[in-house]
């Protein structure tokens, strides 16, 4: 297992490098530069700005300069947020995204597995239809519709919760964004869990357990649940990554200072270093989560040996 883990970690290095290089080239090929604004800066000022950020060097030199900084743990200076380094920006935004996305994953995992299990065990009953309806709604309604509805009801009309913003991890500010992400995740997890458990419950070993006269509670908890969770675990990696790094819509609706907002601003401002820094981060998070999912998979399924 350790050698596998080490191998996987080593494989990530060329992956991260390839992603950075492709992204670096694409960013520099995109028309429009970081200093293009409604107000055009004079040639002299533009030259000063380019010199400050090393953009006056040939592209290959800029690239090597960037890689060298990266190897020293320095993601560079942001072009858009002149007073902050990309390291600062990422360090400030990551905890926000992690808090919102992480909470949503944990809650939706619990609710989704529970609802999926209930629906599977009460297949074709009213409760099953209800769970499936909620699941379909979560998949059918996009977050940019559900989010504003939540704001309208709970913030504007009832005034129970803030409509947006961020206040140092205060619970009240987290409720609506977490609820939105949870709603979407629950729909996916619940449907996958239901399908998986139904399949497991129809398998031969469960039939044997039933024939032995084991109580349903024992059959489900001890024998069915573990294999039924496999597809859910597979799903967790991408869900976690998207909840933490790609919550662009959620962060926009609730004006959250997370990574999603940074990456959108970075791309639209041609803030090369910021975008690259976030790409590095997202790549690493993706690799780590995929690794964790694979390890969890191996723990749940003894047939898998590395």
């Amino acid at each position: 297992m350790w050698s596998y883990t080490l191998r996987r970690v080593l494989v990530t290095i060329p992956t991260v490098w390839a992603v950075i290089t492709v992204c670096y080239l694409l960013l520099h090929m995109t028309p429009g530069g970081p200093f293009d604004g409604e107000r055009k800066v004079s040639a002299e000022v533009l030259a000063n700005l380019q010199a400050k950020y090393h953009l006056d060097l040939p592209l290959w030199k800029q690239y090597l300069y960037y890689l060298n900084s990266l190897l020293h743990g320095d993601l560079g200076a942001s072009f858009r947020y002149a007073d902050w380094s990309v390291n600062d920006l990422v360090a400030n935004a990551l905890p926000v995204s992690a808090a919102i996305g992480g909470s949503a994953i944990v809650i939706s995992l619990f609710i989704g597995v529970l609802l999926g299990t209930i629906a599977a065990l009460r297949q074709n009953s009213p409760i099953d239809y209800l769970v499936m309806l909620v699941g379909s709604m979560g998949s059918a309604f996009p977050s940019f519709i559900i989010g504003p509805v939540l704001v309208l009801v709970f913030a504007v009309t009832l005034r129970w919760l803030p409509s947006g913003g961020w206040n140092d991890f205060a619970l009240s500010y987290m409720v609506l964004p977490v609820a939105l992400l949870t709603f979407i995740n629950v729909a996916t997890i619940g449907r996958v869990m239901r399908g998986s458990l139904i399949e497991v419950m129809n398998s031969n070993f469960i039939r044997t357990a039933r024939a032995k006269g084991l109580p349903m509670r024992v059959i489900v908890l001890r024998h069915a649940l573990k294999p039924a969770l496999m597809p859910v675990v597979t799903l967790l990696g991408p869900l976690a990554i998207s909840s933490i790094t790609s919550a662009v819509v959620t962060e926009s609706i609730f004006s959250l200072p997370g990574l999603g907002k940074l990456i959108v601003n970075g791309a639209s401002n041609r803030d090369y270093t910021l975008v690259l820094g976030l790409v590095v981060l997202v790549t690493i998070i993706t690799v780590v989560f995929n690794l964790l999912v694979d390890l969890a998979y191996a723990m749940l399924d003894p047939k898998i040996r590395y």
């Binding site: 429009g32 704001v151 803030p162 200072p257």
Partner: protein
């Protein structure tokens, strides 16, 4: 009038203006009871690119730095010029100004603000090492400024000198009658050298920043909030009512409105498009809509083979019904515009076209005639470029519809992402392009830059030598009346060339809670210093 007489007139006018502007901070009308909690939450549009006063560029950053820092002069919430750190000033020669600093102006660490702090600040602005975006814009006004920005002379050569601890001499590159107005910009204010030397780039962070404005930096969380608190060291602190101001960088205007409606914000930055009429009906007391010094226009690429012909440019401009555009399409209180110069700007009058008063049918006939003379047949296609935005799209569709229905011209719509669009427009890779301009300072020259030969801001690439000469004469004149006359004439001359299609003068609709006092609808710069706000009991 001789130069000496002109200077005397200016000096008298300045003294009069200062005497009338004696009331300095938040004016709380008689009978208004102040709320116990004097805290304001302002929508700020977007995250400030910096809080370094010499580096800031955009409006959101400027709004915060004007609370944190104060220049030689300042503007109140009516937009009227007020003394800042300078108590008085006078023009001692056409290109020389002397500012007398108040002795009780202090930095937030308790040290005195001196003339040397201004010398350092302005040298810092134009120093190529800082690479300040506004170095070129403001640097041109000072003696040796352009050469310093271009790296040909050291920053120490800038025409700013401390005559003593509290007297500052400013030498300009040409007569700048509106220099006191210019000096209200934070970019031209003082900078705390010792703090910058100590902390480097980090000097703007909470706990490190030392500032000289009515407020000090308390907290700054990127994309979340900037919090400032009352500066007890500020020379006019006793008249500052607010104890805390929170700036929220909410880019999504719909989200901003929701924050306002849910009671989390006292003042939005701007309303989203399409809701102005709704709020006019439902929240008339909260809705504020200022006409500001800004112009929406369409650049005509004067280098383009088709647009080179003045008859084509004139025809395209004549048939655009600005009244309809303002009242039905944008429908947010903006005023029709027919000149590069907008209403309310100092130093020149807006010109207009005779045909603006003609019935539309007559305008259309004339425009058709012009196109026929130019050999442009109905069915010809013009290309209209704009950036992705519902607002710009709506306006572009209207323009295309005007040209199609009235002149039979087809329009190909070239919609691109903002930065791509800007590059194309700046490079002249377009035929007709959306454009807009907000004044940097209240003087005609900020708008004339849009139509001057070779000016960086001239995306139309037009050039009228006669207008250039008039502008030059106007700028060299020390007689304000004469200068206004010359620049007004220049405006008329250049606009008769139809380099662009002015369409609307900007307004800035926003929501302000009725209990927020000090908000004025006269502020054409849309620069509101929190110093002048107060919270009434509610």
């Amino acid at each position: 009038m001789s130069n000496k007489q002109s200077l005397q007139v200016i000096a008298a006018a300045v003294a009069l203006a200062m005497a009338s502007g004696a009331a300095l901070a938040a004016k709380v009308p008689a009978g208004v009871k102040l709320a116990a909690k004097q805290e304001l939450i302002r929508g700020n549009g977007s995250e400030p690119e910096s809080l370094d006063p010499m580096v800031v560029e955009g409006v959101p950053a400027n709004l915060i730095t004007h609370d944190l820092f104060e220049g030689l002069t300042a503007t109140d919430n009516d937009g009227t010029l007020q003394p800042g750190v300078a108590e008085s000033w006078k023009q001692t020669a056409p290109t020389t100004w002397v500012f007398h600093l108040r002795k009780n102006a202090k930095w937030s660490d308790g040290s005195n603000v001196t003339a040397d702090d201004f010398v350092y600040g302005i040298r810092r602005l134009v120093d190529p090492k800082l690479a300040a975006p506004y170095a070129g814009t403001f640097g041109i006004f000072f003696e040796n400024g352009p050469d310093i920005v271009a790296g040909k002379k050291p920053a120490s050569a800038i025409g700013v000198k401390a005559l003593d601890k509290y007297t500052l001499e400013v030498k300009t590159a040409f007569p700048v009658s509106y220099l006191p107005e210019l000096m209200s910009n934070a970019q031209l204010g003082p900078a705390p050298k010792a703090v910058i030397d100590k902390y480097g780039k980090d000097w703007v962070k909470p706990g490190k920043m030392v500032s000289n404005g009515p407020f000090v930096l308390k907290d700054w969380q990127v994309n979340s909030k900037v919090v400032v608190e009352k500066n007890p060291q500020y020379w006019d602190a006793k008249n500052v009512q607010l104890t805390k101001v929170t700036f929220l960088p909410i880019e999504d205007q719909n989200a901003e409105v929701k924050l306002y409606q849910s009671g989390q914000m006292d003042m939005t930055y701007q309303l989203p498009p399409g809701v102005f009429q709704q709020f006019k009906t439902t929240m008339p007391k909260d809705l504020k809509n200022n006409t500001i010094l800004g112009l929406r226009y369409y650049s005509l690429n004067n280098r383009d083979p088709l647009m080179k012909d003045i008859r084509v440019r004139k025809a395209l401009s004549m048939v655009v019904d600005r009244d309809l555009l303002a009242s039905k399409i944008t429908a947010d209180g903006q005023q029709p515009a027919y000149s590069v110069m907008v209403k309310g700007v100092h130093g020149a009058q807006p010109s207009t076209y005779d045909w603006a008063k003609w019935p539309m049918a007559k305008r259309v006939d004339e425009a058709k005639k012009l196109l026929a003379e130019a050999g442009v047949k109905p069915g010809t296609t013009v290309k209209l470029s704009y950036n992705t935005s519902d607002y710009h799209k709506k306006m572009a569709i209207f323009m295309a519809s005007e040209w199609k229905s009235k002149l039979g011209l087809n329009t190909s719509m070239d919609n691109t992402e903002f930065k791509v669009f800007l590059k194309k427009r700046h490079d002249g890779d377009y035929q007709i392009a959306r454009n807009g301009w907000l004044a940097d300072y209240n003087d005609a020259t900020t708008f004339l830059a849009l139509v001057q030969c070779g000016n960086t801001q001239n995306d139309n690439f037009n050039c009228n030598k006669k207008a250039e000469e008039l502008i030059k004469q106007g700028n060299e004149s020390t007689d304000p009346a004469k200068r206004t006359q010359l620049l007004t004439q220049a405006t008329k001359v250049v606009m008769d060339d139809y380099p662009m299609i002015p369409v609307l003068q900007y307004t800035l609709p926003r929501l302000v809670k009725p209990y927020v006092g000090g908000y004025s609808l006269k502020n054409t710069a849309d620069r509101y210093r929190s110093k002048y706000f107060y919270i009434a009991q509610h």
